[in-house]
Amino acid sequence: MTLDPDNPLGPLVEGTTPTLDAVTRDRLEAGLRVQHASLQPNRGPRRAAVPRWLVVGPLVAVLLIAATVGLLLRDEAAVAALELRDAENVTVTLSDGVVVVDPDDGFALTDGAIVVVGDDGRVTIDDVTLSAGAVVTVRDGRLVTDVVATTTTDRPAPRDDDPEVVVTPPDEVRTTTTTTVVPSSSRPPTDQPPDDRPDDPGRTSLPPEPRDTTPPSDDPAPEKDIAGTDIAVALRIDARDGGILVAWNAEGLAGTDWRVVVVRTTDGSNPADPASGTVVAEGERGEILERRADLPDGFDALRYRVIVLDEGDGVVARSVVQTFTPPGS
């Protein structure tokens, strides 16, 4: 094979390229809109500098007033709850596990509530309107998007390239932990040379971002006919004194025999399938506390992902990856 000196990668460009289908495109856009809304408090053009006393004086006064009012209202409502309206095809999972479908206008979203907007659905929460595919969590009275729905309709399942990894499914359906640990020999080698990065602003100044890492597969498992399915998967992790609280929820599985697992890796790689890490829980929704004492020693970061599997253990859908980085690393 000879390289064209004027375009050595010509063969890559010559083939036909599949376009993103409209559903995927719209779903990505919906997710980006939700994330955009959640980022707004940190955004905005910089204002001209003003004398510090002009800011500090009124700020102190406002804080004092707010503290006083807060004390007075403490018994009535700790945090002004977000209100939901115009819900269509919306599922709300409250922090105590109660699931409410299409709540009435004025429904109060308490902390920890997860809102999932289904196909052709929409909902307005305060001033934010969410469209189909959106998944948000209420935290400290705000909408946050560390949970984002992902739907896979025609993606071939990643291959299990590592026969050494043995994942033992837990016996319990919900909130069950396993003791399976990925053998160190099965982890990807890390002998790649360090790479000098251009000054990508998203790269240099942000904490590690969760990324989806479906491996390239030359021999994918047979495709399942799952067109038309709409699965929304949500995942949240919170650092607690005793460990890490992992909460998840999967919607759209009714009438199927699919399995939902929560997979954790400790080697910095993104969980792609159950074999790529440790299955820490199983079930359509639930909450577990991964006790600090039970976590492996010496990890840099823990990465979690909810994965929906079909009867043949093929990957049907996955959540975004959530990363926990211990303090000091």
């Binding site: 890559l12 995927t24 955004r43 989806d212």
Partner: protein
Amino acid sequence: MGEHSDDRELLDERELVERARVDADAFAELYRLYVDRIHTFVFRRCGDPGLAEDITAATFERALRGLGRFTWRSGGIAPWLFRIAANELTDHYRRNSRRRTDRTQRAADRLQDRAALDDLDRIESADQVELLRVALDQINPRYQRVLVLRYVSGLEHEAAARAMGVTPSLMAVLVHRATAALRRNLIRGEETA
């Protein structure tokens, strides 16, 4: 005329980028402007529809988070978006280096099988594309980015240099070296096969 039109488009895009920092609709418009180009770029590099979708999504999520710190430069936002996509691709292949070795072996195996059955002349171009991707996987990640930004993204030389964060002259040197490295890997791969 064309130059004025380009300037006008850049002005519009600059305005759109400014609005996109605070306005979800504007960001969505920016996304719709570039999603196909980014997706095509990523797919041509990886050849995997699912992976291309994932990396395209990750690119725009990262762009959204980094937009507040994006500084406008001549040439618009395209080089910046392609740089993020190229970095995502590089990260992916670095994380999956073990699988990459497997892929190399499988590509070689397929070539051997085909050679046993047919004349080498009949090897499908798809195999050549796969060999090229494998050879690309194996060169220095920086060289990978140089080549894909220059030849796969559709960016002009100067825009590709901006995407790499280097001067156009240094970009030319890097392209030359990267092409040489790619050629060496291709020869090595064909000898193995």
